[in-house]
């Protein structure tokens, strides 16, 4: 059984006719397809696996039964069905996923018409493109590792197609090639400058589920329970305490009686009939904030999103790259991110201290005839607080801290006209946006300019210091204009202070379905110590990967290149400082060492080869004899040569005779492997002995001659 399978594994790539692909090769191609498909399957519809299996089964049946090849009609029908399936899945073929699906489908269907080497190479080439396209889904570490496996498999396939004879040979070659090319790849990756996009490509739409630019409390499915990552941050210097991690993203200033919505700068400019430049300016620094000392300096690693939002801890002051600074103290990118990106940012950590050019009136607007009960309550509280805005707001928050109000992630649905009334007097249950909305409405009712802020609160701190902010960290709070500055007001702190201090998971532990959108998330098991540690370790690795490799471009690349050139310059400077003579000496030393190493390697190799190669050894011995006046005569066999020399040299004769006999035995006798080794050993030994005896004889002659001459002189 194992013999049969290993024979199949080593079956040649082409049939005996030298053209058609063998069944074993088709199987290998199919495995390659499965590996590439596996990269995509997490993001693509599962029926692609079915397509692969059906195509392979058809091909198998065709090979076994010797059936005719798939005709043009069948192939066209298959492509037509693929296009129809993709259109029904995605709506149109222009969608990026549909295009990827088309590529994958063609890749799988290509097996139907794969008959010779050329077809097989085309399949491999499409497979490589599909491997690259898989990175459009994501660029995580597991995907990258899986892609390396797929790449190695494709290389191995190409080695088979170029004539590998065994699995071992094919894999060895693939390994060699990968190993040899990896350093060059790394060098190119580090050095080659990255170009900006050349033209627009279709994109997958993607949006962080937690963040919206419209908050209408009471509608369902607002609060994200997804554990998807929104962004990560690493602080240089001081990191904020848990209660200060308010990441501002949007301000929502328009209330229509039901919900709050964001008014973009261009809408605001159009509504208020003012120039757009009053509301947004592009640059590396905020045009509105005083350029004082920033409190926090950090680097964000942003996830791709179809909206160009950028979070900032408090008011953004300066950015590493040009951004759009908005007059409400938030930040927007110049374009949406199609892949992860790094952003250096400095910010104040507090709400903006400058007035919004929209004017305070804009932030007091309320629809006239909504929420009458709330209006009544506001009037009463305002009277009780003697017209002091601070006392009034404190009273509002204090009211939320009292009994009937509770914090819940699954509040009852509200559908009425007067949502705030319904919440404050009937349901009395909700989460951050319910309370923030009610607070802002009540502030506006008392004539205090107020707006909602949508963003994130908190983030998980990793042992190495970086923070991960996830979709479920999305939060809404209120900013009110008091004493010439915007003040942050978080009503959630009154009703559920643990949400502020310990994060979103704290408020619901054991009570409600936290992470209902991600039932298998490892975050569900953070109670188990070692599992949580493993998760954190993995996330740390992922973060390093994303920051170091995936986001290696732009500023990161420039930094590394600058460091590299600096190091080189320093080394050059150090060398120059040595002075010309020492430099020359050093170079000579290095050259000598290099030459010595090369020579040593060569000699070592010759010695190693000579020890095992009888013919080389014999040739060396013959050369040695020639130098001593006994060259090989034309037409003389090596053994005859040795015997002739033996007649002249009586001292070395036995060894030479033995060598001749061993040589003849080694050359001509029918020996099995151990006997052959033994003969070879004898030959080597005899040659060595012959040399030794020869030298001794010469020495003796010289010594004899010397003593004879001295004797001569003596008398």
């Amino acid at each position: 059984m194992s013999g049969a399978s290993s024979a199949a594994a080593d079956a040649p790539a082409v049939l005996a006719d030298g053209r058609g692909l063998s069944g074993a090769m088709l199987w290998r191609l199919f495995v390659g397809q499965c590996l590439v498909l596996a990269l995509h399957l997490a993001w693509m519809p599962a029926w692609f696996a079915g397509v692969a299996v059906v195509v392979a089964a058809y091909r198998y049946r065709q090979l076994r039964r010797d059936a005719p090849r798939a005709g043009l009609l069948l192939r066209l029908a298959a492509v037509g069905a693929l296009v129809a399936a993709l259109t029904s899945e995605y709506g149109s073929l222009g969608e990026m996923r549909a295009l990827i699906g088309l590529l994958l489908g063609v890749y799988l269907l290509k097996l139907l018409e794969t008959h010779d080497r050329r077809d097989a190479r085309v399949v491999v080439a499409i497979g490589l493109v599909a491997t690259g396209v898989a990175f459009l889904h994501g660029q995580g570490l597991p995907l990258a590792l899986a892609a390396v496996i797929a790449l190695a498999w494709q290389l191995q396939l190409l080695a088979w197609l170029s004539g590998a004879r065994s699995r071992r040979q094919a894999w060895a070659e693939a390994g060699w090639l990968l190993g040899l090319s990896a350093p060059l790849m790394v060098a190119l990756f580090l050095v080659v400058p990255r170009l900006p996009p050349l033209w627009h490509m279709p994109e997958t739409s993607r949006a962080a589920t937690g963040l919206t630019d419209r908050v209408s409390p009471g509608d369902i499915a607002e609060l994200s329970r997804s554990d998807a990552r929104a962004f990560r941050a690493e602080f240089r210097g001081e990191a904020p305490p848990p209660g200060e991690r308010y990441w501002r993203v949007y301000t929502l200033s328009h209330f229509d009686g039901v919900g709050w919505s964001r008014v973009s700068p261009s809408q605001l400019a159009a509504t208020l009939e003012q120039p757009l430049s009053r509301f947004v300016r592009e640059g590396r620094a905020s045009a509105w904030a005083a350029q004082g000392e920033a409190r926090y300096d950090y680097e964000l690693l942003l996830e791709p999103d179809s909206r160009p939002w950028r979070p900032s801890l408090g008011t953004p002051l300066r950015a590493g790259e040009p951004q759009r600074f908005l007059a409400d103290g938030t930040l927007a990118g110049r374009e949406a991110l199609s892949s992860r990106a790094l952003l250096d940012l400095e910010s104040s950590g507090a709400a903006p201290a400058f007035a919004d050019p929209a004017g305070t009136r804009w932030f007091r607007l309320l629809p006239a005839d909504t929420n009458p009960r709330t209006r009544e309550l506001a009037r009463r509280l305002w009277r009780h607080s003697d017209g002091d805005p601070r006392r009034y707001l404190r009273a509002v928050l204090a009211r939320f801290g009292e009994a009937p109000y509770r914090y819940t992630l699954s509040p009852p649905r509200l559908t009425g006209q007067h949502r705030v009334d319904d919440f404050l007097f009937d349901s009395r249950a909700g989460y951050c946006s319910h309370y923030a909305s009610a607070t802002a409405v009540m502030a506006r009712m008392a004539g205090i300019p107020a707006r909602l802020v949508a963003g994130f609160l908190g983030g998980e701190r990793h042992p190495d210091g970086h923070f991960t902010v996830r979709d479920y960290d999305a939060h809404a709070w209120v900013e009110v204009w008091l004493d010439g500055a915007w003040q942050r007001l978080d009503p959630t702190a009154a009703i559920a202070p643990e949400r502020i201090e310990r994060g979103a998971s704290a408020v619901t532990e054991g009570r409600e379905a936290f992470l209902a959108d991600a039932p298998f998330s490892p975050l569900n098991y953070r109670g188990i110590g070692w599992l949580n540690e493993m998760r954190l370790e993995w996330e740390r690795l992922e973060y390093r990967w994303q920051r170091g490799v995936v986001d290696y471009r732009g500023a990161a690349r420039e930094r590394l290149m600058a460091r590299l050139t600096e190091t080189l310059a320093q080394m050059a400077a150090a060398l120059v400082a040595l002075g010309p003579w020492r430099l020359l000496g050093l170079a000579a030393l290095a050259l000598t060492a290099l030459a010595g190493a090369a020579l040593g390697w060569r000699v070592g190799r010759q010695w190693r080869l000579g020890r095992h190669d009888e013919l080389r050894r014999l040739a060396a011995f013959q050369a040695w004899l020639r130098r001593r006046g006994y060259p090989l005569r034309p037409g003389e066999s090596p053994a005859a040569h040795l015997r002739r020399v033996a007649q002249d040299m009586d001292t070395a004769a036995p060894a030479l005779e033995a060598a001749a006999e061993a040589l003849e035995r080694w050359l001509y006798a029918l020996l099995d492997a151990p006997e052959r080794r033994e003969a070879s050993r004898r030959l080597h030994a005899a040659l060595r002995r012959a040399r030794r005896d020869w030298r001794r004889a010469k020495r003796r002659v010289i010594v004899k001659g010397q003593t004879a001459s001295t004797r001569h002189e003596h008398p």
């Binding site: 490589l128 690259g132 990175f135 190409l158 004539g163 790849m185 990255r194």
Partner: protein, 323 residues
């Protein structure tokens, strides 16, 4: 008209010079057979798949740039680096290979010559291809040595200069073709195609002679015909014996070109078949050709000499052949 004549007069010279130049150039490119392949005679040419690979790298690069995707960049760089590594591996696969040619002992026109190709090198080599005209053979060097056999058709008689051999390999990925030409001076003498047995007999004027001289008795063996059994001796001694005969010794046979009929090639074919028959039957024969005469002789060496003479024979136009 005159210009055309001038052209036609000039053209052969130019063509010859061009051919000479080409041969010269070719020889400069080719490495001598039998010596380790030097690096300056080794060429790397991209294959069609190699060009496709380059297009693939460009495509992935564009994808990486337009989606600002680092890992697609990395994959494109890796494929590029793989292409470079393939250059190195393909070059090393061919560098230093020692190729030698073993000519077949005999080759007749109209058949095929089996050229033995031996590749030797210290390192193992994979998927070498030796090409001679349109024939190719694959050789793998393992444990220092690899062998293959080129079957080259030999359409016509004569001295055939074995063309320059081409040693190439697409190992490891089929992206590039490592290529070297191997110049050599090997010549193969292709003997004429022997005429069919029946035609030869007819031309010879009857079947071969029978053994008819009585040579004595020998012990009978199963299978001896009843006519050959010595019945008389059996009745006398009781031992079954068989009569043995032997062919009479005869004069040397002269195979003469002039005795044949038909065009020169047919005559040579006929002579070739006769040489083979006489040799098989162990007879002495001599050969008389328009341009040389071979004294009667016998044995393998004589056969070889006779066949070589036939192969090299240059029959002049009719009538002028006789010396």
């Amino acid at each position: 008209m005159s210009a055309g004549a001038g052209m036609s007069r000039r053209r052969p010279g130019a063509a010859r010079r061009f051919r000479a130049w080409q041969r010269n150039w070719w020889h400069r490119l080719a490495a001598p057979l039998g010596a380790p392949l030097p690096q300056r005679r080794l060429f790397l040419l991209p294959t069609r798949f190699g060009l496709g690979w380059a297009a693939l790298v460009v495509l992935l690069m564009l994808l990486g740039i337009n989606y600002q995707n680092s890992l697609i960049h990395a994959l494109a760089f890796w494929l590029f680096a793989l292409g470079v590594a393939v250059l190195l591996r393909a070059w090393r696969n061919l560098l230093g290979v020692r190729l030698s040619l073993r000519l077949p002992a005999e080759a007749f026109a109209g058949g095929e010559a089996r050229l033995g190709v031996i590749a030797q090198s210290r390192r193992p080599r994979t998927a070498l291809q030796v090409r001679c005209d349109d024939e190719r053979v694959r050789i793998d060097v393992e444990k220092g040595r690899g062998e293959g056999e080129l079957r080259v058709p030999t359409p016509s008689r004569g001295v055939w200069r074995v063309p320059t051999l081409c040693l190439e390999s697409r190992w490891p990925l089929g992206l590039v073709r490592a290529l070297a030409w191997q110049a050599h001076e090997h010549e193969l003498v292709i003997w004429p195609q022997p005429l069919g047995e029946a035609e030869t007999r007819r031309a010879d004027g009857g079947p071969g002679r029978e053994e008819e001289d009585f040579a004595g008795l020998r012990r009978a063996e199963p299978g001896d015909g009843p006519a050959r059994l010595a019945w008389k001796q059996w009745s006398r001694t009781g031992t079954l014996a068989a009569k043995a005969f032997e062919a009479p010794p005869h004069d040397d046979v002269w195979l003469d070109y002039a005795d044949g009929s038909g065009d020169p090639e047919r005559r040579l074919s006929w002579l070739c078949a006769r040489v083979l028959i006489h040799h098989r039957e162990g007879e002495r024969f001599g050969l008389r050709l328009p341009d040389r005469v071979l004294a009667p002789g016998q044995g393998a060496a004589h056969r070889r000499a006779a066949l070589d003479a036939l192969a090299r024979c240059r029959p002049a136009a009719d009538g002028e052949g006789a010396p």
